[in-house]
Symmetry: C2
Amino acid sequence: MGKRVTLADVARRAGLSPAAASMILNGRPDTRLSKDAHERVHAAAAELGYRPNMSARALRTDTSHTVGFVSDLVATTRFASGLIKGALGAAEAAGQVVLVAETGGEPEREAEAVSALLDRQVDGIIFASMRARETFVPRLPTGLRTVMLNATNELHRCSVLPDEETGGRRAVELLLDAGIRDGILLLGYDAEAERDLFRSATVAARVRGISAAMADAGARFLHEESIWLWEPAPGYEFTARLLAQGMRPRAIVCLNDRLAFGALQALGDAGLRVPDDVSLVSFDNDELAAYLRPGLTTIGLPHEDMGRRAVELLLTPDGPPEGQHLVEMPVVIRDSIRRP
Amino acid sequence: MGKRVTLADVARRAGLSPAAASMILNGRPDTRLSKDAHERVHAAAAELGYRPNMSARALRTDTSHTVGFVSDLVATTRFASGLIKGALGAAEAAGQVVLVAETGGEPEREAEAVSALLDRQVDGIIFASMRARETFVPRLPTGLRTVMLNATNELHRCSVLPDEETGGRRAVELLLDAGIRDGILLLGYDAEAERDLFRSATVAARVRGISAAMADAGARFLHEESIWLWEPAPGYEFTARLLAQGMRPRAIVCLNDRLAFGALQALGDAGLRVPDDVSLVSFDNDELAAYLRPGLTTIGLPHEDMGRRAVELLLTPDGPPEGQHLVEMPVVIRDSIRRP
DNA sequence: AACCTGTGCTGAAAGGATTTAGCAGCATCA
DNA sequence: TGATGCTGCTAAATCCTTTCAGCACAGGTT
C-alpha cells in the first residue's frame, strides 16, 4: 500500500516531464524553464511530500549524501563518542547522514569496513583514531575524499587534531594568573612516552606548550615526575612518595585528569587542601573531573568540535584542504586552582 | 580511471549473461544453472574483486543491507556509546552497516532523521533512548522493521531492556553470599522517582528485585534513604549524616555507582574501611567504579549486549518478535564486598 | 521565402542490479 | 511424428533519477 511518491508522480501532477521536475527541484542554474513551471513543480512536490530516492540518485550521480565514519574504537572513552556526536551534528546540518563503522584498529576489519562504505557510495570517509596517531588506511580509489580525525596519515593529508601546544600553554598560564610561579610540579611526562605510537604526538605537543609557557615566564619546575601509566593509582603513589620525601609543591600540573584524581587523594591523605595549599590543573576534562571535590580545573579535549570540523572539512566544495587543522582546547575552570 | 567492476564484467568474463551471474552470486536455490557455470562465475568474481553496487541493488530490491540507529543522545554517557558499539558489532557480523542519527529527543529532528534513513531504504530502524522509557516515534510506513532499545512504544512492540529485576536480586545476593543479612542500608531509592519518566521503569524493576531478594531471605533493610539526585555529592552528604547520627551499617546498597562514590568518601572520612567494616554494592558499572579504591563491586548495565541484541532482533528473518527482551546485567566483582 | 535565434520543454539513455518470461535444444513418450 | 517436458540459459523489463541532445514554436532577419 501507499507506495512512495516518485519524481514521476510530481511531474505528472505539475503537468511536466520528469526531466523538467528534476531540474527544477535540483535548482539547476542554466535551465530555461518558466517561472510558472517552477512554481507548479514545487507546489506538487510539497503537496505530495516528495522525497527523492537516494539509491536512485546515488546510482546515477555517484553521490549518496552520506559520509562514512571509520573509527578504531567507539565506546571506550567519552572522547570517541564526542567525536561521533560532533560529526553527526555537522552532518545533519549539511543534510548528510553518517555511516559508522568500528574496526578495533585491525587492518582487515578496516579494509572490510571501507569496502562496505564504498559499496554504498559514500561521499567521503573520516578516519578517526583513539589510540594511534599515525593511522593505517587501506588503499582507496583516487578521488575519494578523506579526513583523518585525531590522526595523521602519509597519503591522506587533511587531518584534525587538538591544539595541544596551546592547551599546554593555557594550563601553565592559569597557574601564573593565580600568582603561582614557583613550586610547580609536573606529573606524568615520560620521555619514553614520546616514542609510544599512541600518545606520542599529543604528549609531545602538550609538553612543548607547557615548557614554552614556563620558559616565557622565566619559571622552572620544582620537579618533573615521569609516570608511564596515567591512572589514579600511579598518580596517588608518586604524589604520596614525593610528599613523603618532604616536597611541598604549591601547584601540580597533571598530564591528565586521572593522574590528578590520584594526586588529589594523596594530597588529602597528607592533610593538604586543594586549592588552598596546593593548586591542581590537568588535562582531558574527563567525566571524573566534574565529580571530584573540589572540581578539577582542566584543559579539555575538544571532542565535539573536532568531529564537527572533520565533517565540515570533508564536505568543503573543493575537497578537504590539506594540512593539520588544530582545534582549540577549552579551558574548564572549576575549583582546583586557588583564586589569586 | 579504474572503474568499479560491475556484474556485467563478471558475467562477460564467465561467458554468461548478467542474469545468470546474478542468480549464481546470490545463491538462488531453484535455479538450474550448471555446476560449471557456478564455478566460472565465482572464479570471475573473485579474480575481478567484484563487489555489488548497493545503490543499484537497493533501487531494485528495496533493501540496502543497512540498519538505521536513531538515538536521542549519543555522547553523554558510556551507556549510549556501548549500545552503539554493540549494534555495530552485530551489524558487522550480519554483513550490515549502520546509519547513526542523533535527535536530542526532539520530535522534529527525529522525524527528519527517520525520513533521511528511509530515503536511503534502510532495512529497519532501532530507536534507542537514554532518557525516556516510553519513547516518541514518528509515523512509519507499515512493514518497516523496528526495535526499541532501552525504550518501549505502544505501536512498536519489540523492545530490548536490561533485566533490572534480576540485577536487583543479584546485588542483594552478593551481600547474602558474603554472610551479610542485617544492617543493610539502601541508598537512593526515591518513591517520587517512580513517577519520573526517565528512570521510572528502570528504578522500579531494580528496586523490585532488591526487595524480593531481601524478602526471600527474610531480611529487612536497616534503613532506606531516598535520594533524588544520584550523584557523588548527595551520596556523600546522606551517608555522612547517617553515620553522624550513629548509624553503623554493615553494608550499603547504592542504586548507582556515583552515589557509591560519595558514600565511599563519607565512610573513609568517618574512619570506616571498605570492605572490612562496611561492604558496598552498587549499579551501572560506571567508568568510575574501576577507578575507585577499593574497586566497586557493581551490577553493570549490559550496554553492548543490548545493542547487539537489538540488531539481531531487527534482522530476525520473520521480522522482530514482539515482546520485552530482557538482557542479563553482568555482576562485576571487585573489592567493595568483604570476603565471607 | 528561407534562415536564424531563443525559449520552453521533452524523449531517451544511462547507471547496475534483480527478476520474469521464455527460447533453444534434447530426450522421452505415445 | 507430434506432443510434452526437462535443462540450461538469456532478453528485456524494472527500480528512480539525472542529463544530454534536440524538438517545436515564436519572433526577428535578410
